[in-house]
C-alpha cells in the first residue's frame, strides 16, 4: 500500500482565525474516502489548504503527498505532482477558451508537448463520455455556464489531466438527477482507466456516495475529524443526521 | 430624532446632542479643541471658512437614530453653510439631509472618517421654486483603515433649477469601504450635472469603492451630464462605477400593463424604484411619506 496523502496534526488559519484544528488522515492508493460534515465544518477549507490557496496558512502540522512534504509548494507545483481539485465554485476565466486552458494545462501537468490534433482527439473523446457538446470547447471557460455545467467541466478537466489524487469538493451540489448520473459516470470512468487513482469526495449529503462507494467515511466538525468508519457510517448519517456523531466525540 | 436631547449654548454657537455629540461653529470649535481642529483644518481655512460648522462625533460613540441636518442647522445664523462632520474612531452615525427649499441650505458637507468608524448618509433634494444654479459638494475622506461609508442620494430637478452635484470618495488608508448611490429624476427644462470621483491613494490595499448613478429624464428640453471619475493608485482594490441616463424602461412598462396596471400606475411604480433604495433606509415615516407624496405630485402633473 502506497501512501498517497498523509496529513499530520494539521492546523490552518485564514485571516487569523483557525479553520483546521489538529486534523490527521491517511489515504492510500486506489482508495475512495468521503469527508462529510455539516456546513461550516471546514471541509472546503481543507480542500483549499491541500491545493495550496495562498489565503490558507499552515500554522503547524504536515501534508505529505506520496511521502513528499508539499506545504511549501505552489498550487501549480502540486498539480504537476498529480493533485487535482474539482472546485465547488469554479471560476470564470473570460477570454480563455476551454480548449486553450486545457491544452496548456495538459502540457504543463504531463510535461510533454501536446499537438493540436492530438489534444483535440483527447478532449472530444472525454467530452463524449460526459455528454458535452463539442462546441463548448470554444467557449470561454465557465463563462455563463450553469452550475451543473460548471461541475461537469470540472470532471472533464479531471478526465483530461488524469491526476493521481482527485479531491472533489461538493461535486454533487446544484446537480439534478441526470447531471449527477453523468458526473458519477465520469468519475467511474476515470477510476476504471486508472484503478490506482485515489479519490477524496467532500459532500454533506450522501447521495453521490450511492454511485461512488467510498472505502472510508470521515465526519468533520469544527475543523477536525470527529468520527471515521466505513460506508455504513454514511448510511447512519442519512438516518440520524450529524448531531449524534458530533456530540459523541465532543 | 425627537429623542435626542439637546441643550444649546447662550449664543447658539454650540448645540449639544446626546452622548457627547455636538454641533458648533467652526471658529468656536477650534477654540475649544485646537488640536483636533489643527488636524483637519489648517489656520488659513478657519478664517476663510467663516460660515463653517462642525458636527463632532466622539470616538466609540454609537448613535442609533438618524441625525437630521436641517433641524440642527436651524439653530444657527441664517447664511449658506459649509458643514464638516468629524466621525471619531469606532463611532457609528447615521445622518440625513432633507431639502425642500434653500433656507439655510448646506451647500457643502465634508466627512472626516476615522479608524473603524461607520457612516450612513442619506440626502434627499427635492425641487423647489427658486431658479438658481445650485452647487452641492459632498466630500468623504476615509482617513484611517477599516472605516465604512454608505451614501444614498436622491434628487428631483425641475425646470427652474440648475443643479451641480459633486461627490468625492477619497480613500487614504487600506481596508476601507465606500458605496455611493445617486439617482435623479429630471423634469422639463432642467439641467443636472453630476461629477463623482473615487480616489484611492497609494498603499491602500483591500479597498472597495462603488459609485452608481441613475438619471431618469421624464420630459423634454433636459440636459443631464454625468462624469464619474476614478483615480486609483493602489492595485489590491476593487472599484466600480456606473452611470445610466434615459427614460423609464419601456419593456418594464409594458410588462406591468399586461399585469393590469394603467400606464400612469406603471410609470409611478417604476419611478418609485428610482428612490426606493433610499426610502427603505429611513426609519422615519414622516420623511418617507413626504418624499413619496412630492414625487407622485410631480409625476401626476405630466402623466
Amino acid at each position: 500500500m502506497i501512501s498517497v496523502l498523509k496529513i499530520n496534526n494539521l492546523c490552518v488559519c485564514v485571516d487569523k482565525s483557525e479553520i483546521i484544528k489538529n486534523l490527521s488522515i491517511d489515504v492510500f492508493d486506489g482508495q475512495v474516502h468521503a469527508i462529510m460534515g455539516p456546513n461550516g465544518s471546514g471541509k472546503s477549507s481543507l480542500a483549499y489548504s491541500l491545493m495550496g490557496h495562498p489565503r490558507f496558512c499552515v500554522k503547524s502540522g504536515g501534508i505529505s503527498f506520496f511521502n513528499e512534504d508539499v506545504v511549501q509548494l505552489s498550487p501549480d507545483e502540486r498539480a504537476k505532482r498529480g493533485l487535482f481539485l474539482a472546485f465547488q465554485y469554479p471560476k470564470e476565466i473570460p477570454g480563455a477558451t476551454v480548449f486553450s486552458v486545457l491544452k496548456e494545462s495538459l502540457g504543463a501537468v504531463s510535461g510533454k508537448l501536446v499537438s493540436f490534433d492530438g489534444f483535440s482527439k483527447i478532449l472530444f473523446n472525454k467530452m463524449d463520455i460526459l455528454k458535452i457538446d463539442h462546441s463548448f470547447a470554444y467557449r470561454n471557460l465557465n463563462e455563463d455556464f450553469s452550475g451543473g455545467e460548471k461541475k461537469r467541466f470540472e470532471i472533464l478537466q479531471m478526465l483530461v489531466l488524469r491526476p493521481r489524487l482527485a479531491i472533489l469538493d461538493e461535486i454533487d451540489s446544484g446537480l439534478d438527477i441526470d447531471s449527477l448520473k453523468v458526473v458519477a459516470k465520469g468519475i467511474k470512468y476515470a477510476k476504471k482507466e486508472n484503478p490506482r487513482m485515489t479519490i477524496i469526495i467532500i459532500t454533506h449529503r450522501q447521495h453521490i456516495l450511492r454511485y461512488i462507494k467510498p472505502d472510508f467515511v470521515h465526519i468533520m466538525h469544527d475543523g477536525t475529524i470527529v468520527n471515521s468508519g466505513n460506508f455504513e457510517l454514511a448510511a447512519q448519517i442519512e438516518k440520524k443526521g450529524y448531531t449524534g456523531f458530533i456530540d459523541a466525540k465532543s | 430624532m425627537d429623542n435626542i436631547k439637546r441643550t444649546s449654548d447662550l449664543n447658539s454657537k454650540i448645540l449639544y446632542l446626546s452622548k457627547g455629540v455636538f454641533v458648533s461653529e467652526l471658529s468656536y470649535f477650534s477654540s475649544l479643541y485646537p488640536d483636533i481642529a489643527k488636524k483637519y483644518f489648517n489656520e488659513v481655512a478657519i478664517e476663510t471658512i467663516a460660515q463653517g460648522m462642525v458636527l463632532f462625533i466622539p470616538n466609540n460613540t454609537k448613535i442609533d437614530r438618524f441625525i437630521n441636518l436641517k433641524e440642527i442647522v436651524e439653530n444657527f445664523s441664517d447664511t449658506e453653510k459649509r458643514l464638516f462632520v468629524i466621525v471619531g474612531s469606532f463611532a457609528c452615525v447615521k445622518i440625513y439631509n432633507f431639502i425642500e427649499n434653500l433656507e439655510k441650505f448646506i451647500h457643502s458637507i465634508d466627512f472626516f472618517v476615522e479608524e473603524g468608524a461607520s457612516v450612513s448618509f442619506i440626502g434627499c433634494y427635492l425641487d423647489f421654486d427658486e431658479s438658481k444654479i445650485i452647487t452641492h459638494d459632498l466630500n468623504i475622506f476615509l482617513i484611517e483603515k477599516n472605516c465604512k461609508v454608505d451614501c444614498k442620494i436622491f434628487c428631483i430637478v425641475d425646470g427652474v433649477q440648475n443643479i451641480v452635484f459633486r461627490t468625492k470618495q477619497q480613500h487614504l488608508s487600506g481596508d476601507s469601504h465606500s458605496n455611493l448611490i445617486l439617482n435623479c429624476i429630471a423634469f422639463e427644462n432642467s439641467h443636472f450635472e453630476y461629477e463623482g470621483k473615487i480616489f484611492i491613494d497609494k498603499n491602500c490595499s483591500k479597498v472597495e469603492a462603488y459609485q452608481n448613478n441613475k438619471n431618469i429624464i421624464l420630459e423634454n428640453n433636459v440636459v443631464v451630464n454625468s462624469m464619474p471619475i476614478l483615480e486609483i493608485l493602489s492595485n489590491d482594490v476593487l472599484c466600480k462605477h456606473s452611470t445610466a441616463t434615459g427614460q423609464i424602461d419601456k419593456d418594464s412598462l409594458f410588462y406591468l400593463q399586461t399585469r393590469g396596471l394603467s400606464e400612469k400606475e406603471a410609470n409611478i411604480l417604476l419611478l418609485e424604484n428610482v428612490f426606493d433604495f433610499l426610502i427603505n433606509s429611513f426609519d422615519n415615516k414622516k420623511i418617507k411619506d413626504t418624499v413619496l407624496r412630492r414625487v407622485k405630485e410631480k409625476i401626476r402633473k405630466i402623466l
Partner: protein, 450 residues
C-alpha cells in the same frame, strides 16, 4: 510611390519659412500653402492642453519638421537599441522585417505584394496613394473633404499637423466597392511607419466597405520623438469602415494623434485601437454619428508599463436619431505605468431613440502603477438609453489559484488572465496581429519585455 528627387531635411525648429519650404518641395497649390500658414498661426496661438500628461518638456525648436522619407531609413543596424532587437527575437519577427521595422532596410518584400494589389484596385477605381499625390491627382475631391472633419483649430496638435503634414495616405473607395482584404498602411515604405506628421484622408463612398490596418505589434524604433498625425474619415451613406491601429512605438516617442470619422446615414464606423508603446500617448478616436441609423464602435486597449503614460479613449457623438454605439476600453497598468481613460458620450437634442453604451475596465498589476477613468456622459434628449460602467481591479487571487491548480505556474496563469482580459480587442484584429499581441503580452508578463 513617391520618387524622391533629392534628399532634403529642414532646419530645426518651426517658422513660416520652413512651412513654405515644405509646401514648395511638394509643389502644392496656393490654397494648401495658405492653409498651412494659417494653421501655423493657430498652433502658435493655442495653449497646451490643460488635461492629460505633462507636455511642457516638448520643445518644438529642437525638432526637424520635415525629413524626406528615404533619409529616415538611413539608420545603421548597430545604432538600434538592444532592447528593440530582443523584442524582435521574442516575437519571432523575420530577419528582413526586423531591419525594415528598425528603419534600416530600404527595400521590403511587401513592395512586390503592393504592386500587384495596386493593379487590381486600379481596375475597380480604388485610390490608395500618398497624400501629396492625392492632392495632385484628385484635387477637387481632396479639397472638398480635406480638414472637413478635423479643422486646424480643433486642438493644438491638429494645428501643428495641419501646418507641417507630410506623408500619410489618401484613400477613396468608390460606390459599392467592397475591399475584401485589410489595406495595410505599412505596405507603403515611405509613409506612416516613419512619418511624424502624416495626414490620412479616407473617403468611403455609398455602399463601399473597407478594412484598414495601420502599425504593427513589434516595436518600431523611431528616431523622431514627436508623432502627431491626423486621420480623417468620411463614411458616406450605407458605407462601412473599420480602422485598426496597433501602436508600439519605442519608448522615446510622444504620440499625439487626432482621429475622427463622420458617419452618414446607415454608415458604420469602427475604430479598433491598440496602444502598447510610446512614452506618452494622447489619442481619442472619435465618431460623429451625423446620419440617421448610423452606427459607431470603438474597441480600445492600452498597456502602460514602466515610464509610460497612455492617455487614451475616444468620443462618440450622436447627432441623429436611431443611432447606436458601443465603446469598450480595456487598460492594463504595470511596473509603474499610468493608464488614463478619457471617454465622451454625447447625445444632442433631436437624437431620439439612441442606444449608447460605454464600458471601461482597468487592470492594475502592482502597487507602483496607476489607473484613471474620466468619462463624460452628456445627454440632451429623453428618449434614449445611455449607460457607462467602469471597474478597476487587480488580477483576482481566486482566478490565479484556479489556473495554477491546473498546473500552470504563476507567470503563465497571469499571462492567460491578462490575454483573456484583452480578448474583446484581440478578437477584432486580423489573425497574424492577434497571435503577435498574445505573444507580446505573455512575454511582457515574464518580464523579459518591459
Amino acid at each position: 510611390m513617391q520618387n524622391p528627387d533629392y534628399v532634403f531635411k529642414s532646419d530645426r525648429g518651426l517658422n513660416k519659412k520652413i512651412v513654405c519650404e515644405i509646401s514648395a518641395k511638394k509643389n502644392e497649390p496656393g490654397w494648401m500653402t495658405d492653409f498651412r500658414l494659417n494653421a501655423l498661426e493657430i498652433f502658435e496661438s493655442m495653449p497646451m492642453p490643460n488635461f492629460g500628461p505633462n507636455l511642457s518638456w516638448l520643445n518644438t525648436n529642437d525638432i526637424h519638421f520635415y525629413v524626406k522619407p528615404i533619409e529616415g531609413l538611413k539608420n545603421s543596424w548597430e545604432d538600434v537599441p538592444d532592447k528593440i532587437k530582443k523584442t524582435f527575437e521574442a516575437l519571432g519577427v523575420p530577419q528582413a522585417e526586423q531591419k525594415f521595422l528598425a528603419g534600416v532596410g530600404a527595400q521590403y518584400e511587401s513592395e512586390m505584394i503592393y504592386k500587384s494589389l495596386q493593379k487590381k484596385w486600379e481596375k475597380e477605381g480604388v485610390v490608395f496613394v500618398d497624400s501629396t499625390e492625392g492632392l495632385k491627382k484628385y484635387p477637387d475631391i481632396f479639397k472638398k473633404y480635406f480638414a472637413s472633419v478635423v479643422p486646424p483649430n480643433d486642438n493644438k496638435f491638429a494645428a501643428l499637423n495641419s501646418a507641417v503634414w507630410s506623408g500619410g495616405n489618401f484613400v477613396i473607395i468608390p460606390k459599392g466597392v467592397k475591399i475584401d482584404m485589410p489595406l495595410q498602411a505599412y505596405f507603403r515604405i515611405d509613409s506612416s511607419s516613419f512619418g511624424q506628421f502624416e495626414r490620412t484622408l479616407i473617403i468611403v463612398e455609398e455602399g463601399g466597405s473597407l478594412e484598414y490596418v495601420e502599425g504593427c505589434s513589434a516595436q518600431v524604433y523611431k528616431q523622431n520623438s514627436l508623432h502627431s498625425a491626423v486621420v480623417e474619415i468620411i463614411a458616406l451613406k450605407g458605407s462601412k469602415i473599420r480602422y485598426t491601429t496597433i501602436q508600439n512605438w519605442s519608448d522615446n516617442v510622444c504620440n499625439l494623434v487626432t482621429k475622427r470619422a463622420l458617419a452618414r446615414e446607415n454608415a458604420t464606423v469602427e475604430w479598433i485601437d491598440g496602444n502598447f508603446g510610446s512614452k506618452i500617448t494622447m489619442k481619442y478616436p472619435s465618431i460623429i454619428l451625423k446620419g440617421e441609423k448610423s452606427k459607431g464602435q470603438i474597441i480600445s486597449i492600452a498597456v502602460a508599463a514602466k515610464d509610460q503614460h497612455q492617455d487614451t479613449g475616444g468620443k462618440i457623438i450622436h447627432l441623429a436619431p436611431n443611432t447606436s454605439s458601443n465603446f469598450v476600453s480595456k487598460s492594463i497598468s504595470k511596473n509603474g505605468g499610468r493608464s488614463s481613460f478619457r471617454g465622451l458620450l454625447k447625445v444632442e437634442a433631436g437624437a431620439v431613440n439612441v442606444n449608447a453604451k460605454m464600458q471601461c475596465d482597468a487592470l492594475i498589476l502592482d502597487d507602483l502603477s496607476r489607473s484613471d477613468t474620466y468619462p463624460k456622459v452628456q445627454v440632451k434628449e429623453k428618449n434614449v438609453d445611455v449607460g457607462h460602467e467602469a471597474s478597476v481591479s487587480k488580477i483576482s487571487d481566486e482566478q490565479l489559484f484556479y489556473i495554477q491548480s491546473r498546473g500552470l505556474n504563476e507567470e503563465m496563469a497571469r499571462a492567460m488572465i491578462v490575454n483573456g482580459f484583452i480578448d474583446s480587442f484581440v478578437k477584432e484584429i486580423p489573425m497574424e496581429y492577434a497571435v503577435e499581441i498574445n505573444r507580446l503580452i505573455s512575454a511582457s508578463m515574464e518580464g523579459s519585455i518591459g
